[in-house]
Symmetry: D2
Subunit: 427 residues, 4 copies
């Protein structure tokens, strides 16, 4: 199904008056503070976040999964769902495929379908953490780090195929997340495992077209519970440096030990020009994969503050970042959940955009900690929702995407079309 | 398949000489320290740990599961597997069933089968964290805490059925672990959810036969990632107190926030006479469900030190504890893994048994921290494996259970019988 | 020094126009949402937070302390500093004394002084974690839990004296925070230590006047690093129950293990009518004692949401709570820091006050997680600073207390009066 | 005071028989497993750990400090105390000075004194986390990272002086630990702070003699509670790489976020040839600075397992490591505490030395996780105390250093000489 612009406009009519009032007031207030409101709106409009193909169905945990109806079961349906989100928010103009869950049989047809939704193909993702039926060797004990050369080879070959598919679809980057690691002391020779992983990554890296980028993701634990081969940004950074200039680190918000200062990692990597991609989600305990901004919205803002600073002070030629939501939707409608995430991302981005960095640097230079803290809090406490809504409206999106989604009874339509007993491929 | 005593004896012959030498020396050394070696051996022999029916097949994570061959697919086969472990170790003389995965069609036949392996039925476990096919209502948003009375009723009714099955098998206790909780702020009214849970538990409690015990398990997170209804021992303790004198807390080693002092929780609960059951496993990050003693063996010893102290100083009439291994076996043969767990448990128990509490209290009274620490370290550093092996041998078990298991090629036989493509019911 | 109302008014004149505009708009918006703005303002005005006497000077860490000038060195000066904060914010109308740092020589004179600042005496705090010169026995190895009866007696006696002082000043409650615990496994007999602590607390409890309350604080670690006698709310709850109906738990935001769901603890304790006091601060790692709301403002709001709900649904007769800021000011002017804390508290409180609980319960009843989450986020994202400022203004405080403080050059005056080389008693 | 060899020998006579029996048996058992016992003993004998000059007095926390008598107040007395430890253990043949607490007035005399105790001077440590009386600028807001060039200059200059002192004493390395960081979001420009730190470190690096090494320590928090400039090994590694080939990372066991896999960090750094120094301690919560091996002895063994592997497979020319105990002694006699630490270190080292790496690699190659785990556990569970005691005895040390220390009544003598009211410079 496809949402027509008229449907969105018609919804917007129901709340335009109230919105206009709030936007007008906010805009005036911001202008008084010297903020170029139009410029901020344009930046919000330009900010597009990829939706991963596996996030459109219900997620689950090792204890089970509770399905809801209308989940997409084909790549076409997944693109359709991203299309719905994008039509409503105008901020999700990209999809990130996961291979082998989403191998397109006819790449051109898929590209055309996506284009009809104004969606492009972001980074492609390989999967060497699950065995596929009939697979010659198992990833049970690792993939790119495996002790057996045949397994490593299989995993490298898979990544090459993922690149091929990405090329056919117009992707320009490959994200590698590895489950490789160990669950028990003694199981793995750390050094050899890391060394083999580096060799495997180099082979993949060398296979990439010259205009591609390799994103190396890190994660401290899960599904391995004693060690992971790429446990932190330091390891990812080391590997990216060894691979070459088109290899970058990828930060996933949920892939850190308790209390990690993630915003500082962002800052350090951008200082070195080595931050490639960003996976959004939120968490309280581990890699909980919750809705962005649902647990630690201030941390999200602080991270965006570093991202915006890094983009505006790009001394080390850091490339444009690949933004993606990487969440699991266990108890909410995935499309609603993704729209809540997008709203939180846009809000945090907007808040970061109104930070007055010149003043901030003055406070810092004077070690006026009180004022430095207050300045960030001031930006964060400002209610910028009308700005984000204005950006959405101007782009043709809904002022309140979730309300619109409910009013248009999208989920009900999807269930009618696809049925109640559905399972999307993915986790 | 069943292991004959002769097979074990025959294996023991191959290592008896070396064992005897070590045991002799250790026994002499311990005797010099005033330890009643025979008494310690008897206590180790008497210590029996239940194996849960779901731990006999390969476990997995939300990212996948890698099967191995020969996994048990029926309750009879599961009992057979526990029988193997018990024959080799003589320390696993109980099985803990999980309903509805293990509903016995013919309870008497199942009891007879278990008895033929010298296995009794420990606590039965209910499952209200997964929906069963055709279930009238879903546990997606909770069970005993659910906002909808019909769901709570369904969950209570399920627990009553579990009790009935337990009665038929000779169990004397019910363990309730709830996945109930929330993944997002706002989702749950904490107070009402806890209050409804208490009401549901009371109904279950009141249904239990008078000689039964209710074990209330707590867990801070997973599969819910913002809150769980019974998040910690304090909540479990509150609920147990409200339910009545036959309700107790159950401690699972993996169900704590980072750095929790679990041994102190054990001490406090035994002081109040409210510790009912214990689930063994090990973990580095969260509820990793790793092999007991594989990550933090000293913590395990410290916990046993409190358990032994509590048992020997039972002022508050704490009942005998229900011991169970609750682990997940993702990368090792589950039977080997369980035997490694049993060995670690026995070792830690033995170490705790040789702690000289009279001396320890003297050091404590004098605030001689150096000596108090050294005294515990001394017990822990003593290599008591020959003692544990002697206990196993005297009970008819193998001196080295895993070596025996491999020599007898048990897994190979199981695969031959059951096939290579097997999946045990469970997680 | 004392701030005259005219000084504050004169400052307010400089920002009243801008404030009025924003307050007018916000008030209209809230009114449209059905919120009784005047009632909310009244509640904010009524909300008073105690300042602890030890928080007015620079704090430090074990690595050192960097003083700033003008710190108060007498109780009179400390009351003066609270008076400054209260004059500017009208929300700090109480002081919480720490004995023996703040023993008043002439209680009536001190009461009069405080009254002249409109300040009352909140809970008094005992100190048995440091030895005082000439002390007969040392607290090195504990106080209320000590193995030596003479030490316990000394500590109990000290608490009785603190109560006496509190009575003389008009306090109505005693807060007991214990450093008691152990740094090494073996050092402490957990059970005996807890039992002795209970006995000591009972003696203190029984000494209290009938209209007094005892607040029992918990903390998982520091300054002891293996165990603390009262490690969590469960232990505190157990002790409070044993002591009697005037004994309550005290929650300090920084006294929890990583990732603890504190708002749920608040909910549970209020459900049982056992939450007595609350210590505000913020932290990223441990008991960091940072400015309230500086790290996790959303968590602060969620906690307030539970507090407000608990106050409005007081089924278990929970008493009014004792609110206090318990922070350490290592890098900022303590008075500015405290005013930042007060602002964060008032904002979170205001946000909680505008939560529509009737709607929230509807979403919860329907398990509409999306809407339940959004409803809380909506309240939190609303910029309520104009409301808080209006409350301050109406009470006679400054619209922007810190700006006023700087404009009036208070710190400069304090330095002039008290000197540059000052050290406040405290940590 | 100085311990005469005859005193130690005389003590050893009292336990030699029992020791000989145990050592004989253990030696035989190890020999049967193919272990070259004499070689292991030699390696233990050769292993020397530096004692930091600040660890010889009682430590404390921000809540206070409880002194004990006989603490050293001069550098001479500190060297004397290390001499006592070394005489008893023969494993503490080095001291690590902290400037400005230990500036020697007459370097040659100090060298001679140390030599008389068979003690050499290990890495020197600078201190830019505290202000010294009369200091021209304050380190309140940082040192090497400070916004003010004058402060950075002061801190760099201090480090140069520390190098000069080290040169005079025969040290060959400088350890830099920085407290630099921030306690509040906004306070610091992460990028600029790190960049300035790098520049400062380069200046210090360039000042070092060519045969010196620079050790760059990392720490995630404390005394700053929001960020630290060198928060993790990745940052330290980046800085060391930029400084040059004589710059290395220093790992302190207590400087990690909860659950960090430290052994893997050790492995990675040695793989790159960039691990320079190691600070031993233990902890349960944060940088608790507890006695080595008192909380997580298995982790200590796993780390030593990597260290030994790295030393034996030194492909990247990693230099010999600088070993030091970095603990704080709050409740125990510091000398006893240090001897407990040394014993734990020697035990873990000995356990690592008997790991059969050839077999381990076979298990790993076969992905035999059960056996790989068991192999490490076997080494760890073996009671190697007789081996460590034999090494001590052969070197002239005591079989049981703490028992000897008590028998010789060393502390009593120190108190007699130095008095009961003493405070060592340090934390």
């Amino acid at each position: 199904m496809k949402i027509a612009p008229a449907q969105v406009n018609s919804f917007n009519e129901t709340c335009i008056a109230s919105h206009r009032e709030k936007f007008q007031f906010l805009g005036d207030q911001l202008a008084k503070r010297g903020i170029d409101v139009e410029h901020v709106i344009q930046q919000i409009k330009d900010f597009q976040v990829a939706i991963p193909s596996w996030a459109l169905g219900m997620g689950g945990t090792r204890f089970g999964r509770f399905s809801m109806g209308g989940e997409p079961s084909t790549l076409e349906e997944k693109i359709g769902d991203v299309g719905i989100i994008h039509a409503l928010t105008q901020s999700a103009g990209a999809i990130s495929l996961h291979i082998p869950w989403d191998i397109p049989e006819n790449p051109q047809a898929i590209k055309d379908l996506a284009a009809s939704h104004n969606i492009v193909f972001d980074a492609v993702n390989s999967n060497t953490f699950q065995d596929q039926p009939g697979q010659s060797n198992s990833y049970k004990h690792g993939s790119l780090c495996h002790t057996n050369e045949a397994v490593r080879s299989l995993a490298v070959q898979h990544n090459k195929e993922v690149i091929d598919i990405g090329v056919a679809l117009g992707s320009k980057s490959l994200t590698v997340w590895l489950a490789d690691g160990s669950s028990f002391p003694g199981q793995l020779n750390f050094r050899k495992a890391l060394s083999r992983t580096l060799d495997s990554l180099k082979e993949i890296y060398n296979y990439m077209p010259a205009d591609w980028k390799l994103y190396i993701e890190y994660k401290p634990y899960e599904p391995n519970f004693y060690s992971t081969v790429i446990q932190d940004w330091g390891t990812s950074h080391l590997l990216a440096n060894e691979c070459g200039e088109n290899a970058y680190c990828l930060v996933d918000l949920g892939h850190h030990l308790p209390n990690t200062n993630i915003e500082q990692i962002v800052s350090t990597l951008m200082w070195r020009g080595k931050l490639g991609g960003f996976h959004f989600n939120d968490s309280k305990y581990g890699d909980d994969d919750l809705t962005v901004g649902s647990i630690k919205p201030y941390q999200l803002f602080l991270i965006f503050n570093e991202l915006v600073y890094g983009i505006n002070n790009n001394d080390a030629n850091n490339p444009p970042l690949a933004w993606m939501i990487d969440a699991s939707h266990n108890v909410k409608d995935p499309l609603e959940d993704l729209m809540q995430s997008l709203e939180a991302i846009q809000l945090a981005y907007a808040q970061a955009l109104i930070v007055n960095h010149a003043d901030l640097e003055k406070h810092r230079a004077a070690n006026d900690v009180t004022q430095a803290q207050s300045l960030l809090q001031d930006a964060y406490r400002t209610d910028l929702r009308p700005l984000v809504q204005e950006a959405s409206k101007r782009s043709g999106g809904a002022i309140d995407p979730i309300a619109c989604y409910r009013k248009l009874q999208i989920r009900e339509s999807l269930i009618e079309t696809r049925g109640l007993e559905t399972t999307a491929s993915g986790l």
